[in-house]
Symmetry: C2
Subunit: 337 residues, 2 copies
Amino acid sequence: MTGIDEVARAAGVSTTTVSRALSGRGRVSERTRERVRRAADELGYVGSAAAASLASGRTENVGVVAPLRGPWFFATVLDGIASRLTPRGYDLTLYHLGDDPEQRRGVFERSLRRQRVDGLIVLSVHLDDDEIARLGALGLPIVGLGVPRPELPALRVDDTAVGRLATAHLLALGHRDIAHIGQTLPPGASPELDIPSRRRRGFEAAMGDAGIARPRFAEADFTVAGARAAARELLTGPDRPTAIFAASDEMAYGVLAVAGELGLSVPRDLSVVGVDGHDLGELFGLTTIDQFPHGQGARAGDAILAALGVTEAAAAPLPFELVVRTSTAPPPRPGHP
Amino acid sequence: MTGIDEVARAAGVSTTTVSRALSGRGRVSERTRERVRRAADELGYVGSAAAASLASGRTENVGVVAPLRGPWFFATVLDGIASRLTPRGYDLTLYHLGDDPEQRRGVFERSLRRQRVDGLIVLSVHLDDDEIARLGALGLPIVGLGVPRPELPALRVDDTAVGRLATAHLLALGHRDIAHIGQTLPPGASPELDIPSRRRRGFEAAMGDAGIARPRFAEADFTVAGARAAARELLTGPDRPTAIFAASDEMAYGVLAVAGELGLSVPRDLSVVGVDGHDLGELFGLTTIDQFPHGQGARAGDAILAALGVTEAAAAPLPFELVVRTSTAPPPRPGHP
DNA sequence: CTGAAAGCGCTTACAG
DNA sequence: CTGAAAGCGCTTACAG
């Protein structure tokens, strides 16, 4: 690999000047800068990340701490993040929080502490107090995306409003007996910032406004299988609901599948709404609240670049939008099966 | 951040010895090693990645070059890779090949040349000659996964056998009029290692063995939308096939959707087979050839670690397996609609 | 605007 | 088995 001194020689300047000309930090005459650039291009010079970051303290690398919340959602957000970092010359190092608790500890105790990144994006995970403390001790700019901890500055969708919107759509169609399938809080977590809790709260608020006191709720984790079990119980029990609001699209798919197995026609016998904007939603005709995960990633990328002083900050709430497809319709009129 | 000299002072040894004790390179007495370890733990010392890699030339970081072939597949493979790298203390830096050609050039011309990684895993992309040359010039161990270039040592599924297996399953059920939906070769690519081309080849070989000379083929890209268009044409044309073998599960979902729209019952009127092992396949009752993408990622991780001398190599062909669900059945008997 | 020189925090021959 | 010292390839006060 060609080094900075070869470029300096070729351009007839010092390495100091090469460094300044190429990085844009410090003044260099336009003529010199041009000459250095040309020499660097001709030699195909690209600086060593290790040397530059050891000397400067900057890595031009952003870490992404991610759990495994459904491969689709995760990859879509990641794509959005990369779409912003790459054009600015920032690399992206992934810190994957897997299932293994020991591995997870290693990420917080070792991997993240190697000073490989200038900043961190933390994707929607439940973090315990120790993990929060360790993130803080890093002394790095951090942007959370849906992280349920007040300690981290985080981008969030207004999930209560999401829950309200989904429910309002069903209420407007005439449904009264609406059930919600969501995930209850992990032990020790606070409901204030927890996404499923907020969606549920929005659901209950909308139902309350419509005069329905204790609407039905079924617990399920964020998987198709979990939602299937919950849906089966709801739909085979006595007086089944006419509509189900599932806390995610993948959960909604589970509901659709169970409906099919039970011989219920959607939306004639049952309306279903999900949340996310999953890429197979159109295929299923699923009505959903799209939360634009790719855009969320892009926003998180923008936010960390702003925190690093690379770009200007631009705050705005994360958007979401009702997408009506064919899984929702007015409820069946009693006596007209 | 505490540095190596603080550990040295605390342990009463030189920084040389600390480095050796902690890295395991070079001899250190067991007593000393223990003392150093304890001191490092107490101080919470984690070495600077930049300093270590500048001095040693090693980064303990692996790059993953990835295209955007369906977020689900990509994320699942990535999870598999991370599951092997993390326990060995290796980090993972993602080089995302997006849609923008200029950004893509930047990855090959700059990002990858910053010496941030010890080795590279390249996920199934079509690379042009220039890109191949640039990868070679990096002088790094590289492991491909399904990369259609003979220049890169790559892990591959026997995709011809996959095509054969899917087709044989349908033939065994009694189907004769089977169509294949797949993707034709991008210009300039060779069919020898191209995955869709090989699947098609397997399809044609199996059909040929069954005495069917020119089986039907429809072109579509690897998306639901593409497959829908192709399926619509196949299924609305004169004498529609009794079975369709789609080159991926997501494409198969598109076929299922079109069948539903046309009022065809699966598997009574039409059998459908996909490839991948997509996580929603069970929901759809889709018969598929599972190629275990998570396991493929794990194997790629193992392979690059072996190439880096971290672990022993263990070669074996990538497995695949027919998973029969409810989307395939014998064809309808003529006259028995 | 430009350069000589120190220094970033490790690793590793080399010597003992 | 252990350590003093050079060096990895940049960046950046400091001086001019």
